[in-house]
């Protein structure tokens, strides 16, 4: 007996993405507009690790925009 849940099919992913497009775009917008302020502070304080994480968040949000749009 196999209790492992089946992974979503590509069409289920597409449907989920389509249903949540607006929310995902809004989330991406909040990150790309908000994270740069933290980035500026982190760079000024010499916190390069935090700066790298925040820049990665911006880049991931851009990738999310490509995926959902």
């Amino acid at each position: 007996m196999n209790n492992q849940p089946a992974s979503p099919s590509p069409s289920a992913w597409a449907a989920w993405r389509s249903r949540n497009r607006g929310r995902l775009q809004a989330a991406a917008l909040i990150v790309v507009l908000g994270a740069p302020f933290g980035l500026h502070w982190a760079l000024g304080a010499g916190l390069n690790g935090l700066a790298a994480i925040l820049f990665a968040a911006i880049a991931l949000s851009m990738a999310l925009v490509i995926w959902v749009s």
Binding site: G22, Q25, A26, A28, L29, V32, L33, P36, F37, L39, H40, L43, A51, A52, F55, I58, A59, M62, A63, V65, I66, S69
Partner: protein
Amino acid sequence: MQLSLLNWFLALSPVIVVLVLMLAFRWGGSKAGAVGWFVAIAVAVLRFGAGPQLVAYTQVKAVLLTLDVLYIIWTALLLFHIADEAGAVRIIGQALPALTADRMMQGLLLGWLFASFLQGMGGFGVPVAVAAPLLVGLGFNPVQAVIMACIGHGWAVNFGSLATSFQTLMAVTNLPGEILAPEAALLLGISSLGSGAIVAYVGAGWKGLLRSLPAVVILSAVMGGVQYLLATNGLWTLGATGGAMVGLIVGVLVTRLPLYRHAHNDKQPAGMNLPSPAAQADPPADDGKKRSLLISMSAYIVLVVLAFAINLIQPVNDFLDQVRLTLHFPELTTAYGWTTAAETGRRISLFSHPGAILLYASLIAYAIYALAGYYKPGAAGRILRRVTKGAVNSSLGITAMVGMAVIMSHTGMTNILAQGLSQSFGRTAYPAISPFIGALGAFITGSNNNSNVLFAALQQRTAELLGLSVTLILGAQTAGGSLGSVMAPAKVIVGCSTVGLGDNEGVVMGRILIYGLIPVAVVAIMTWILAAF
């Protein structure tokens, strides 16, 4: 970094990627802009010597520029939907054609003056979406309606939407509006003559065009003149709004002239019928409730009063200008020595910004419409949903493309592009080319604003290298962008969808390109003449 063919093409690659994705693959601005952003960063790091700190700081600079523009976009959409939900836009649109029996004049009132007024207040495809169905309701063919509504407001895009595109031009070039406004307003004022004449021709053929000439000359002089006066006196945010408002008032007076009081037997120009019959859209829904024209216009009257008061009454301006958002940036240098000096980023005055003025006007207008009983239950939720739906996607596109443009200018990529252009075209030909570059950017990205983000710094640098007037070339850039944006597939699709031409966008697009390039050519000739003398 030396100018070479490889470097020039690599510097151009982010722009090319955006253009190809939007034009050939029909991607939206947000998706194509995000890919362009990744390409710009990759090229900047791998070829133009950008370090991690430079890349990071450019994103912070870009977000300040972006917020300066988004503040206006979100609040302009809010004001429009507050008026639209109250039925005010429909009332204003219906009141105009009742003034004259001459169909050509009705077409001018709706397709030129009212569409330009809507561009002044809202923009972002709203003029086409609202004016085209009203024109169809008056009996114009759907193809005619979309062309008239698109071409009619082209002159008003740059100083419309509270001058969002012009604000971006200032931000990207770091030049004050007082210096940039005269040439941009002059070129756009002249182009309004072409916009009006094309609307008259498309609506009523050659006979209608000839009859329209006195009205078109008077009205374009009035609108272009008022826009020029406002823009050159620090009120560029009200340039198109003020011009179109005065144009509407004078237009009402012009309908009283004997020439325009009666119906005429005009013929539509050839090529306005579709290969297959299209379903005609119904005119906008009417809930049967009586609404006053004055109360319907109150949102826009309040906006104009507030904008004048905040911009012209110095103590009010000083009081509201106390809270500013800005950041300081260190000197940034690439591995190849391209340096951007330490500077303070874009300053955003939170309470006297054009976006803040729109927000105050929106809140007051909502209260007026609510007190007048113009809203159905749940109106506030519907307004906010429409604003969010309309603004999120375009905000993402602008954010990505501004990020891309700032990276390009801070790594010398824009400079390499400008060097290549200046060596290819030369001082004599470039002024005539510059409006077409602006128009191309707007056609492909769907907005005058994005065109300025992509190409303004490039045009500025090219003008400097060629020893041309920077303000003239930037005026030509944004005028070309303004006129080119109305031909953009995104706007045409909006127009087609509102008049039941869903499957015929390609046909309409072809017609719009033919008519839309005429005003751009007029601007190119004017720029060339002004540069020569």
